[in-house]
């Protein structure tokens, strides 16, 4: 201290030093929570996953990551119901994940946010479900590796059907009628999710329409879809639809707790349902809407993408190749040990013994017979625009045709921005 007391302090210098220190401190604080391991070696990778509901999934993903020797991989487990928003925001920052799971959506490709993975998939391309390859391909390049296929359908309790004298419905009218017969003072007839958005695409497909045409024009604005929305509005106000359940439809709780007789959910929930309800569980596809429609199953799922703006694109691609292409044991473990999912690799799907009999086998059958896959051109903005249609026509008493027209306008504007 004595030395410094003799120093010739200049106010500007002091200020400069103070500001420099403060700025450095601030920046260090910003940068310290990158979640990267490896102490700045530059090899650390960060991967984003949405929070799977089944016990053990997070631990499994961390276990696989730990087994990878070429780079330290940190897993960020994103909870909440807005994974896509958190992911999109993160992708613009310096703390963006190197590897992330999502659904194939073309705006990620057009905006240069995902890396071309053709070279790692090409050698095993034929072993993949070809629909999964198509849904990840833009101009001949493949942008994501499918990890799991998740067919979604309606689950029901056969014992309650028998008691109410109800047959498995194949049309929307029959479904609404069944919900009415199944509703008692304690049990609601059907649960389609708290905001009904998870049946958005099944409704379109079951009405014989599609999200987009093959040359990327809106194809959802049809009279049959409008009629379907009108019928759903009737169901919404009938008192037979379970609303505001504590857990949403992706979670099997509503059916397990006896709050509803029919529930929209995915194949992932089968083990939990079977454990709680034993054999008293059945599945059927989303029923036909209107005379020209056809029953449908939504073959959702999750895929791995590499952030094209990551500093470690090559390392990230290596990791994705190692885990989701080479490590078949882990892929099978991930698809069948926690929730049930269909492996997109044909060889794995054929050898997965847990999916060969009983209810899971029936799920696979519906997946093959009625399944519709994601269309890479149907982006989050378009999905959200259609969710607004559901909110305004089913939960509110809006005119379906007018709402569909408004939605088509928004979708057109998006398409114009994406495809010119």
């Amino acid at each position: 201290m004595s030395a410094s007391s003799n120093m010739n302090w200049d106010r500007r210098n002091v200020l400069r030093a103070a500001m420099g220190l403060a700025a450095a401190g601030g920046l260090a604080a910003c940068g310290s929570n990158t979640g990267r391991s490896g102490g700045g070696s530059g090899d650390g990778l960060v991967q984003y996953f949405h929070a799977y509901g089944e016990a053990g999934v997070e631990q499994a993903l961390k276990r696989y990551a730990k087994a990878y020797k070429d780079a330290g991989v940190t897993t960020q487990w994103i909870t909440g119901n807005n994974y896509e928003q958190k992911l999109f925001a993160a992708l613009l920052t310096k703390n963006a994940p190197d590897v992330f799971e999502f659904h194939p959506q073309i705006q990620l490709v057009k905006s240069g946010q995902v890396a071309d993975l053709t070279d790692i998939i090409e050698p095993v391309k034929d072993d993949f479900n070809q629909a999964d390859i198509t849904s990840h391909t833009v101009d001949g390049k493949i942008y994501g590796v499918r990890m799991i296929d998740d067919p979604q359908f309606l689950f029901y309790r056969p014992s309650l059907f028998k008691k109410a004298g109800v047959e498995v419905p194949t049309t929307l009218e029959e479904l609404i009628e069944a919900a009415d017969k199944l509703t008692t003072s304690k049990v609601k007839g059907i649960f389609l999710g708290n905001d009904l958005t998870s049946i958005d695409r099944p409704l379109i497909w079951s009405a014989g329409a599609d999200t987009l045409t093959a040359d990327n024009k809106p194809a959802f604005n049809t009279d049959a879809v409008a009629d379907g929305l009108k019928q759903l509005r009737g169901l919404f106000t009938s008192g037979n639809l379970l609303l505001d359940a504590p857990a949403d439809s992706w979670d099997p709780s509503a059916l397990i707790q006896g709050l509803t007789a029919i529930q929209w959910c995915g194949m992932w929930a089968m083990p939990a349902m079977q454990k709680a309800l034993g054999d008293d569980i059945g599945i059927f596809p989303f029923p036909k809407v209107g005379s020209a429609g056809k029953q449908s199953v939504y073959n959702g799922g999750w895929s791995m993408f590499v952030n094209a703006k990551s500093k470690n694109v090559e390392a990230a691609k290596e990791y994705v190749k190692w885990l989701w292409i080479d490590q078949k044991k882990y892929q099978e473990d991930f698809a069948t040990s926690y929730g049930f999912h269909i492996p997109p690799r044909t060889s794995l799907a054929q050898s997965a013994t847990k999916l060969k009999s009983g209810l899971p086998a029936e799920g696979v059958k519906l997946f093959n017979e009625f399944g519709h896959f994601d269309n890479i051109g149907w982006t989050q903005a378009m999905i959200a625009a259609f969710w607004d249609v559901i909110a305004n026509t089913v939960r509110k008493d809006g005119d379906p045709k007018a709402q569909l027209d408004a939605c088509e306008k928004k979708v057109d504007a998006e398409l114009k921005k994406l495809f010119g």
Binding site: R11, D244, I383, A384
Partner: protein, 321 residues
């Protein structure tokens, strides 16, 4: 800021600057102390407030989708888009409705609680703490409790259980916007969270009212209760009430958490911040239009605050009361 200018005059003459000064003078230098204490705050303010505001204004003139470093200048297109967007205009209506509910309700409840607690003869500290505690709870956590346990739509939700005793059917509080029960959920959660804090402000103000006023009133024949409250307590709380209302309005403008967590994928009950979040950070990733909306909103807030200051006399001298 006036400190800097006064101290600037007090600077040593140029001839003296070259001479080595003892460190003592530096420590005593008010200018140095001024920067020492305000510097870190100012740096934070510049980095986290002024730079983003500037950046936002810049972005609002560009086509900025999926990027915050755009290159395509589009002039006022984003402003045109946001001002013709029905969702954005509706969000301003939503905010007005929300403020119309929450500001008077919180004002009345916190004043009522303050009056009750202030009259207590025993366990005053206990009740003061009990009512204040919810202030420490996060809005997100409270919103989830309201959504999943108090106001869920099934028979074992607290609200539906109570209604069930009177033979009323289960109500879907949040899923069904007709009738708009969701306002009850949204207003009660905020009421619970913030009333305790404003109660403390009112208690402090109540304790500052001179006892002599009440004694004099009583001698003049004023009846205790409504009459003294109306003619003594309430006028004496004017300054605090004004501040509380201003703070409540600011808080209502900033409402986000409970709307976002309670209403999810609805098209109604979306206040401006939720709407802008969806536009810029959500599915649309349109930072240009989102920033334009933020600029419009900032201008609106400025205008409203200035008007409010004029009407309520906030910041005017004591004599003008």
């Amino acid at each position: 800021m006036s400190t800097t200018t006064t101290r600037g005059v007090a600077q040593p003459a140029p001839a003296k600057v070259s001479r080595p000064r003892p460190r003592r003078s530096l420590r005593a230098s008010s200018t140095f102390n001024f920067w020492l204490f305000t510097g870190p705050f100012l740096i934070g303010l510049i980095i986290f407030v002024f730079v983003p505001i500037g950046w936002s204004i810049w972005l609002s003139f560009f086509e900025a989708r999926f990027t915050v470093t755009p290159s395509e200048f589009v002039g006022f297109d984003n402003y045109q888009q946001i001002l013709t967007d029905a969702n954005f205009r509706n969000s301003l209506v939503t905010f007005t409705v929300f403020a119309a509910f929450i500001v008077p309700a919180t004002w009345a409840l916190s004043l009522g609680l303050a009056l009750l607690v202030n009259r207590l003869r025993f366990m005053r500290a206990f009740f003061r703490s009990v009512f204040f505690l919810p202030t420490a709870v996060s809005y997100v956590a409270a919103a989830l409790i309201w959504k999943m346990s108090l106001f869920n739509g099934v028979r074992f939700g607290l609200a539906n259980t109570v209604l069930g005793w009177f033979g009323v059917d289960n109500i879907a509080w949040l899923a069904n916007p007709d009738p708009p029960w969701y306002w009850l959920v949204i207003v009660t959660v905020r009421l619970w969270l913030q009333s305790g804090f404003y109660m403390i402000l009112f208690i402090a103000a109540l304790q500052n009212i001179p006892r002599e006023l009440y004694e004099a009133a009583s001698i003049d024949g004023a009846k205790p209760g409504w009459q003294t409250f109306r003619h003594i307590t309430l006028p004496q709380l004017r300054a605090t009430s004004t501040a509380v209302i201003l703070l409540l309005l600011v808080a209502a403008y900033q409402a986000f958490d409970e709307f976002f967590n309670l209403l999810g994928k609805a098209t109604w009950g979306q206040p401006p911040l939720v709407e802008l979040y969806k536009m810029a950070l959500g599915q649309n990733q349109n930072y240009g239009a989102g920033s334009a909306g933020a600029v419009v909103l900032t201008l609106l807030i400025c205008v409203v605050t200035l008007l409010q200051g004029k009407i309520m006399g906030f910041g005017r001298g004591e004599e003008s009361k």
